[in-house]
Symmetry: C2
Subunit: 384 residues, 2 copies
C-alpha cells in the first residue's frame, strides 16, 4: 500500500451543543481540517458515527454531510464499529487513499448525544453490547465495565483508589486543551469521594459523553512538497475483533482484540511499545486504561495500575497517555472519539501541544475501542 | 490498485424469517459464500447494514457477526449508506483488498426488517431521507417517490400504465430465482388494477421489503490458479452523492449521482452503456428504474419507459435488467440489496442463471441507490 499522510486536522469543542445540528458540527470540523491543510476540497468523505439513526432519526449521513459542506457529488460513506467508529472510518479512509483509487479523503467523526428524538442515550449506547445476552438483561455500558473492574480488583488485589492517577492525569492535561469538555483539576480526595455510579465505578472513573466532531484530511505522502511543518505519516493501522458479549471471552480481563490490533500495528511500523513516545488510549472508564496498557505491552498482566501510581503516565513519564485529556476529560462524543484521538496524536507529533507537549515525540499511538473490547483499532503515526 | 476477483457467493432467500436472527441470516450467507469459494476463512469482514440499531437494538455488528461465524479476532466493520449500504460495504471491501493490506475480504449485506423492537419499519426507513426537511414533514419513501413519479408523468407526458413492463419483467424473472421473495407472474391488467399506495405509485410499482442476507468473498485476482469456472473480476467501482433532500436538486428528475458514479465506473472499465450485457438496477420503485436507465445512458432523458414498452428489458432484449427479479420481486431487504445485486451479477457472468440467463454475458453492471438518489454506487464486473 502506498504511504499516506495526514495534512489537515480540525475539531469542535466537546460540549452540549444545543445550538448546532449534527451536520453543522461535522461541517465545522471538516472546514477546520481543510483550512489547516490549505485545501478547498477532497475526493471522498468517510464518516464515523453510530447513533444518528436512533438519536437524530437521521441515517444516510454521506449524502447529508457532503451536501452540507458544499461538496455534493463526492463519494461519502458512514462506517460503524460502535465506540470504535471514529478509528474505523479513519482506517477505511486510509485504505481508500492507500489503494490508489482515492487521492484525498476527509475523515470526520461526529456525534450529537445530548439531545435525543427517541430513547435515552444510555439505552441507545447499549446497542453496542450484545442485544440478546447483555443489554436485554439491563446491562448498560457502565454496568458492564463495573463488573469487569470488580473482577480485576478481586483477581489482582488492587484497591479502587489505586486507579485515581488515570483520572487525575486526564483532568490535568485537559486543563490546557481548549476543546476539552472538562476544565477542572481533580485530586485523589475528589476521586475517593466521588459519587458512585455502578460499584466500583464512580463519577470520576467514567468519561462524560457530549456533542462534537473531529476531522482529518488524508493524502498520499509522496504528493507533499516543501512542507513547512513535520509531515505526519500513518505507519501502522490494524483492526481486530473479539466476542461482543464479555462472558463469551476466555479471560474477561484480557483485551485480546487490543493485543491483536496493537501487535499488527507494531509489526507494520517496525516498533514495539518501547518506541512509542505517547499513547492516546480509550479511557472510557479507568479500568479500560489499565486493560489497554496491559494488552498493548506497556504493563504486565495485572500490573497496569502501577504505571499510574509510579507517575509514569504524565507527559514527562515513561508512557504518557491521554495527553490532551483523553475520553475522561476531553470528553467522549462516542463515535467521534477515534478521530479526536488521531487529531491529538497529530498535535503532539507536530509539537503543537504546549504545555502538555511530550518532548521530542516522534512516534505516537492511538487506540479506539468499540463495545467493551469487541472491536479495537490501533494506529501508529510518525513525524518526519 | 491491484485487480480484485469475486470467488464466492452466497445468499439466503428473501422472506419473513421469523425464526432467524440477524446474525443467523448473516452467517448463512457467509457460510454459503465460503463453501462456494471452497475456503474456510477470510481476513476481514465488511457488513452492509443500516437499521439494526433501530429495529433490532443491535449495533457493533462487526464484533457480533465475526464471533457468530466462529472467526473472532478478524477485522470487521459495518458500512452504512442508506439503501446503498450493501454496495458501499462491497466497495470498501474491494478497496481494502485492492490496497494490498487485506488478502481476503468477506462482504455481507444483512437486514432483518419484518420484526422491530422499536418503531415501525416505515419510520425507520425514513431516517434515510432528510430528517429536518423531509421525514419530519411526514414524507415516507414511497411518498417521496410518488412525488417524483407524478412530476415525471407530468413533465414527459407518459401514462402510469406505461411503467408496467418494469414490474412484469421483474416478476417474470423472479419466478426462476429460488431465493426471490415473490414467485408470482403478473400481467398488465394486474398492474393497472393494483391497490394504490401513494398516487401514482401502486402496490405493483413498489418493491417488498424483507429479511435476508447475501455475501461474497473477494481476493486479489492474481492469486487465482487453475480456475474451473470463469474468474469474475471487478473492473469498475464508483460512489457518488447528491443532496439528500430531493427539493435541493436542480432537477428532481435527474439522478446526478447515478450519472456520476456510472460514468466513473465506465471510465475505469473502459466501456460504455453499449458494452454492458445486463444491468442489475435499483428498482425500489418503477420510477427509479426509469431514472436510473436514463442517468446511466441507456435511454434518453424522458424516454426511459420506451425501453420497457419496446420489450428491450427482458433477458433477450437490448438492455436486460433485474434478471433475477430485482428489488421488485426478488425483494428488497434494504441494506442487503446491494450485495444481492452483486451475487446475481456473478451468477449471470458465470452462466449460472438458467432459465433467465443472458446469453453470452461477459460484462454486467450493478447499481445500488441510497435514499432517493443521495448515494449511488455502481460496479462493473466481467468474466474472464
Amino acid at each position: 500500500m502506498r504511504e499516506v499522510a495526514i495534512i489537515g486536522i480540525g475539531q469542535t469543542s466537546v460540549d452540549e451543543h444545543w445550538d448546532k445540528s449534527l451536520k453543522e458540527l461535522a461541517g465545522e470540523a471538516i472546514f477546520a481540517a481543510l483550512r489547516d491543510a490549505n485545501r478547498e476540497t477532497a475526493e471522498a468523505l468517510f464518516i464515523g458515527n453510530m447513533l444518528s439513526g436512533i438519536l437524530s432519526k437521521q441515517e444516510n449521513l454521506g449524502g447529508l454531510i457532503s451536501d452540507w459542506i458544499g461538496l455534493p457529488g463526492m463519494e461519502a460513506e458512514k462506517v460503524e464499529a460502535a465506540c470504535g467508529s471514529g478509528a474505523a472510518a479513519f482506517r477505511l479512509g486510509l485504505l481508500a487513499v492507500g489503494s490508489e483509487e482515492i487521492d484525498s479523503a476527509l475523515v470526520v467523526g461526529v456525534e450529537k448525544m445530548t439531545e435525543s428524538l427517541s430513547v435515552e442515550t444510555t439505552e441507545a449506547l447499549a446497542t453496542a453490547a450484545d442485544a440478546d445476552y447483555e443489554s436485554a438483561q439491563g446491562l448498560s455500558f457502565v454496568a458492564l465495565n463495573a463488573l469487569v473492574m470488580q473482577l480485576y480488583l478481586h483477581t489482582y488485589g488492587w484497591k479502587h483508589t489505586d486507579f485515581a492517577p488515570f483520572s487525575i492525569n486526564a483532568h490535568a492535561n485537559a486543563l490546557h486543551n481548549p476543546y476539552a469538555r472538562l476544565h477542572e483539576a481533580i485530586t485523589q480526595k475528589d476521586y475517593n469521594n466521588a459519587r458512585m455510579v455502578a460499584a466500583p465505578i464512580n463519577l470520576l472513573d467514567a468519561s462524560p459523553t457530549g456533542d462534537g466532531a473531529a476531522a482529518v484530511l488524508l493524502v498520499p505522502a509522496d504528493t507533499i512538497r516543501a512542507a513547512t511543518r513535520p509531515v505526519i505519516k500513518v505507519i501502522g493501522s490494524a483492526s481486530a475483533t473479539d466476542s461482543i458479549a464479555i462472558h463469551s471471552r476466555k479471560d474477561p480481563l484480557w483485551l485480546t482484540a487490543a493485543e491483536k490490533s496493537a501487535h499488527k500495528a507494531y509489526q507494520q511500523a517496525g516498533v514495539g511499545p518501547g518506541e512509542i513516545d505517547f499513547f492516546e488510549l480509550h479511557d472510557a472508564f479507568s479500568i479500560m486504561s489499565v486493560l489497554s496498557l496491559e494488552a498493548c505491552g506497556f504493563a504486565e498482566r495485572g500490573k497496569g495500575p502501577l504505571l499510574g501510581l509510579e507517575g509514569q503516565i504524565g507527559v514527562k513519564g515513561k508512557v504518557p497517555i491521554t495527553t490532551r485529556g483523553g475520553l475522561k476529560a476531553r470528553g467522549h462524543p462516542v463515535w467521534a472519539t477515534g478521530v479526536y484521538q488521531i487529531v491529538e496524536t497529530v498535535q503532539q507529533l507536530r509539537g503543537e501541544a504546549f504545555p502538555t507537549q511530550v518532548e521530542g515525540a516522534k512516534i505516537g499511538m492511538a487506540q479506539n475501542i468499540g463495545g467493551s473490547g469487541a472491536t479495537v483499532i490501533t494506529h501508529i503515526l510518525t513525524a518526519e
